[in-house]
Structure formats: structure tokens, C-alpha cells
Point group: C2
Chain length 99, copies 2
DNA sequence: ACGATATATCGGGAAATTCCGATATATCTT
DNA sequence: AAGATATATCGGAATTTCCCGATATATCGT
């Protein structure tokens, strides 16, 4: 758990927004219909909502994943991203104890 | 409370280290003798321990203060910095609720 | 196998951050 | 008032981040 890497990942308005959107996939991504939401939300949906290019959003999701804040599942041609709640709990705990 | 600004302030190894040092001023800054630790630790002590230049450390402390993570007290020619614990509690809370 | 679709990766220009040395400002001492 | 000390601010080189368009890769349907 690289603390600096985590905080860098959180240091961007769009990435922070994506994480917040992913707290409520059904509410924030009503267009998605494939496979429900059990595996997360696919990149295209997130990209459309973020209003940035596909490459940028894909890169941002990689940053979030390298920091451990989200996890991904590939199903067919789609990659579904969802929050890694354990990481958020650990980070909140870290802030109360170590930092 | 600008969340992105806070996370940016935390996105640096040295700044994070300073915040951790400030959790235990007596233990981490034994050289300081003026005015005790009630008002925090002065810039020079932090600078010596951080091993960066005076200007860099002064700037880093400003960044932390703008983010609300520390507060400062000027006494004579010294500026004492201490943690703003309310900000850390609020941030930890934010991570559990909003983000 | 071929074209369409979804995502990842590459290369890069613009902006921000990192950290420095030099200098300015504020306060203390004499 | 003058010099010493502590901190803040300025200007800048090197690095990183932001976000893009172009391209590569993977999987789908036919």
C-alpha cells in the first residue's frame, strides 16, 4: 500500500469524481445494461459521463487500479471497474492511526 | 475544504513525513527548547530533519497550511507549525462517507 | 477471415510540481 | 542603527502530470 501513490491518484478532480460515481453504479450509469452491475461499470460508460477522451479515462482507471482503489473484470470486449472498498476502509484507518 | 488540494498536499513523501513527525514533536524534535511544544515546531527544526533546503521546507509547510492540515503561530522570529487534528478527523470521515 | 466495437498503449504539447539558490522581510540583540 | 537569525518569497531548471489524437490489441458478430 503505497500511501503517496494513493494520494496522487486521489489528487485529480475527475478521478475523485469517478470514485464517487462508482459508489452508486445503478444511479449514476443508468445506460448500462450488459451483465448488470455485479462486476462494476465499463469504461465507455464512465468515459461518456466524465466527458474526457477514451484514452484519458482508460489511463485514469489504470492509475486508480495501480493505487488499489478499484479493481477490474474483463468480460468479452468490456472491462468493468468497481471500487475496492477494502482499500478505502484501510486508507481511512491509516489516516486515523499512522498519519 | 478543497478535497483535491488536500490530497495534493498529501501526495509528497516529505510532506507526509512532516505530518507524521508532528504527531510526536517531543520525540521527533528533541533539539527544540524555546517555548516548549505547545505552539508546534519551528521551521528550522523541521528543515534540519527533512534534509531539504530552507526554502523548500518553508514552501511545503505553506502547502500543508493552505490545505488546512497544519496551523502556524508566529512567536518572535520563529514560526511554529502544528497539526490541525480537526482536518485529519474530517478527512477520515470524508473518506468513510463521501468518497 | 473480416469488419465493427471496446479498451489499452504510445507519443507529445501544455501546465503543474519539485526542489534549488538567491534575495526579501521580519524580528532580535547590541 | 547595524548585524545576526529565522522565515518567506522569487526565479528557474528538471521532472511529472494532464489530457489529447493516433494507433495497437482484444473480442465480438457475420
Amino acid at each position: 500500500m503505497d500511501q503517496v501513490e494513493i494520494f496522487k491518484a486521489l489528487s485529480n478532480k475527475t478521478r475523485l469524481q469517478i470514485l464517487i460515481w462508482l459508489k452508486d453504479p445503478e444511479g449514476n450509469f443508468p445506460d448500462q445494461d450488459q451483465y448488470g452491475f455485479d462486476n462494476g461499470v465499463c469504461v465507455g460508460q464512465i468515459q461518456k459521463k466524465a466527458g474526457l477522451t477514451q484514452s484519458t479515462v482508460s489511463e485514469y482507471l489504470s492509475v486508480l487500479q495501480r493505487a488499489g482503489l478499484v479493481k477490474s473484470t474483463r468480460i468479452g470486449q468490456w472491462t468493468y471497474y468497481q471500487r475496492n472498498e477494502e482499500a478505502f476502509a484501510a486508507l481511512s484507518q491509516l489516516l486515523q492511526t499512522d498519519i
